[in-house]
Amino acid sequence: MTVIYMDNAATSWPKPAEVSAAMIKTMEEAGGNAGRGGHRFAVAAGEILYQVRETVAAFFGSDDPFRVTFTANATESINLILKGYLKQGDHVLVSPLEHNAVMRPLQFLSQQNIQWSVLPAGKDGRINPALIEPMIRQNTRLFVICHESNVNGVIQPLHEISEIAHSYQIPVLADCSQSAGSIPIAIDCEGIDFLAFTGHKSLLGPVGTGGIVWGSHVDVNQIFPLKQGGTGSASDRYVQPDFLPDKFESGTLNTVGLAGLKAGIDWINRNQQNLVYLKKGELFREFLNEIRSIRRVHVFCAEKIENQGFVFSLTIDGIDNGFAAQWLDEEKGILSRVGLHCAPLAHRFLHSFPAGTIRFAASPFTTSQDFEACIEAVKILAENTTTLH
């Protein structure tokens, strides 16, 4: 049975062949520790990291490679900002579609009297910019916006939100876990101050890669590092370096994984016009519209198609989500993602808590045949809820 992988919002698969090739090449030819020592392998590893910084910076519209900080994933990036920037008594505004990568650190920080509120939004969770200002308090110190929801694919109006936030001198942390690689993002144009990304979803890199891109005007002196340790620099001192990129990058970086991330981004740069944004966008919209037309299927997606990313989810009347997902896997080879998607806030807002939904997420490698197979399979489920039980 052919596998139809529709769990790309969890992690993308397959990766371009260039990704694993770059990782193997790095292991074999640049096996030193970047920044530690001056021998050829250490320098080769450092040069690879620099190339990745250049690639990531350019991809997000930044002209300074050193304003890219590498982390293991978006969760670590978000933790770094929330715990390094917020102070006791601060207030944070979040979108209704935040992932637990945001909500769990915020819940933890509530012990330090850091409070959060949810921004007003439409039924699909898309923030209504006109209703933001009354939510801003004197102690509001940060906006956290999930750029593209991992539950229903809603894309938030980042630029409009940022304009309002900045008029109050409040920075914006954008969680671009889903959007990075599938939606063009120019950090300064969008008004993002802290851009958190992961490498293994739409950027097509391996797991264990991610980072932060700092807006060009952001003063990193106001952020405390999440961890301290060896950087290969200022080695005669116990004090953590205060300059980028070392300030936030203690410990050996995942050079092998980051080389793979660069290969993934390079692949997107070569193919984006044909595959990701245009052709696949049309296919995905057709797919979504077909699914929405099936009786007894409830689709969780953006109210307006122009606000829709490459993710949506659904439930089917009369059938358990877990059973449906299992049937899709075993009978049709379709790999979907069932549950709460680590986003209970989003599911509560969308009234799909606690059962959650079945999620479908495409990648540049998803074909029209894959979409057709999913449509047919969901139709069978919706039409045979009694017999399939």
């Binding site: 020592g37 050193f66 290969g232 080695s235 370096p241 300059f243 980028l244």
Partner: protein, 74 residues
Amino acid sequence: MKEFVLLVYTSSHAIGIEKKLKNLGVPCKLSSIPRNLSSDCGICVRFDEIGLKTVEDLVKTLPFDIQEIVALES
């Protein structure tokens, strides 16, 4: 010809500077830091006197500080 080293605070900066200098046509290379100059574990950029002016001009445009440019004793 007199040789110089450009000392920076982190190897990442050395790699970035070396790339920019090569793009500007300045012969240079990355090398281990002479231990009498710094206790850092990393690397510096080594270049000849002919590139000194270009290096000094480049340093003024960088978004980060360097440590110093040091003439190497022969």
